[in-house]
């Protein structure tokens, strides 16, 4: 057999073997590999490179070496799944760098981190002053994760005591002018509903590139023809405004009437309307 055919055959076999080995070794992303997995990858690649381009050694030796380099990491991975101790040893433990706002100099030294390295990493997290940090930890992957002090954390709705209506994922009901029946069914809507909504917005389905329904049942459209403007759904804002107006009207009637009984009736209903507004406001914004 001429050499070049052997090279082609060897390479083909090795590509297939390597493909399956890497598949079985898991689908962690490159950045998440620990040092051992990283080396394994390089060695496997090296073996394949040597055996697919030279014929000095029999292919069997290469396959054997690959098998060993595959079976040992797999065994270690299996053991580290089972035991926390093995995991700490093979994958490393995270190191606390800053605790209660104080830098842990001993831990820094242990990880051979200088103050500059620490500052650089904090800066990449948009923190320029160490006193803003409550807690920082160096992960085994080499990334520093930071918990800023409460005062330096971005405001959330929880901090402001605002009650927000939960939003579910929107469903796509039209793609490329075609109805997506699955999306409609997920929102328990039907074709009739879609047709009426399209008519309301004066759009024909052939002209719709994308249509989505949010959890409130509002349909938003993107048309092929970008010169046409689709009215944005304003039903909710309109309802809130009408309710506010009705409430104000009732209050006005209560103030302007001199009949005691009517006054009470208007006041009672104005208060009721206010309650209705409070009840539904979060869902109408």
């Amino acid at each position: 057999m001429p050499d070049w055919i052997r090279i082609v055959l060897n390479s083909a076999v090795l590509v297939v073997v390597l493909f399956f080995l890497t598949k079985w070794l898991g689908k962690k992303q490159l950045s998440q590999l620990n040092i051992f997995e990283y080396i394994t990858g390089i060695v496997l690649g090296g073996i394949v490179a040597i055996h697919s381009s030279t014929l000095d050694y029999p292919l069997l030796y290469g396959l054997l070496a690959m098998f060993v380099w595959f079976i040992i990491p797999l065994g270690i991975e299996f053991l580290s799944l089972k035991s926390k101790k093995v995991r700490d040893f093979t994958q490393g433990k995270s190191t606390v760098m800053i605790q209660n706002g104080k830098i842990m100099e001993d831990n820094l030294k242990k990880e051979r981190y200088t103050a500059d390295d620490l500052l650089e990493n904090l800066r990449s997290r948009n923190i320029f002053q160490v006193s803003d940090v409550e807690f920082a930890v160096l992960e085994p992957t080499g990334v520093i994760n930071v918990l800023p002090k409460k005062a330096s954390q971005p405001l959330t709705a929880k901090d402001l005591n605002i009650k927000l209506a939960p939003k579910k994922e929107p469903q796509t009901v039209i793609i490329d002018g075609k109805v997506m029946h699955e999306g409609l069914a997920n929102m328990s809507l039907n074709l009739n509903w879609l047709e009426t909504e399209l008519e309301k917005q004066q759009a024909s389905i052939e002209n719709v590139f994308l249509g989505q329904v949010d959890s409130d049942g509002q349909l938003t459209l993107d048309l092929y023809d970008d010169k046409l403007t689709v009215p944005a759904p304003i039903e909710k804002q309109l309802l809130l405004a009408t309710m506010k107006k009705a409430q104000a009207d009732l209050e006005l009637f209560a103030l302007s009437t001199k009949n005691e009984m009517s006054k009470q009736l208007y006041e009672k209903n104005s208060k009721k309307m206010k309650k209705v507004i409070q009840l539904t406001e979060t869902y109408l914004q």
Binding site: S215, D216, L239, F253, L265, K275, V276, T280
Partner: protein, 66 residues
């Protein structure tokens, strides 16, 4: 405009509120929102009832503007 016609137009907008609340209640997929809308709808219905009676009373008081 007389008081009677003012109240009448207010009743009309309350009717529209009731109808919109009801559609919202049926359209919304979120059970919490559904509950809020349905109890709001119930309250608005009571307001509407009160005011409709008031409209009749006012019509009797100002028969010339009926």
């Amino acid at each position: 405009m007389t008081v009677g016609s003012n109240v009448k137009s207010c009743v009309a907008s309350i009717r529209s509120i009731e109808a919109t609340l009801e559609t919202m209640m049926h359209q919304n997929a979120n059970p919490e929102a559904k509950k809020a809308f349905s109890s709001a709808n119930e309250m608005v219905r009571q307001i509407k009832k009160d005011l409709e009676q008031q409209v009749i009373r006012l019509a009797n008081e100002e028969p010339q503007y009926k």
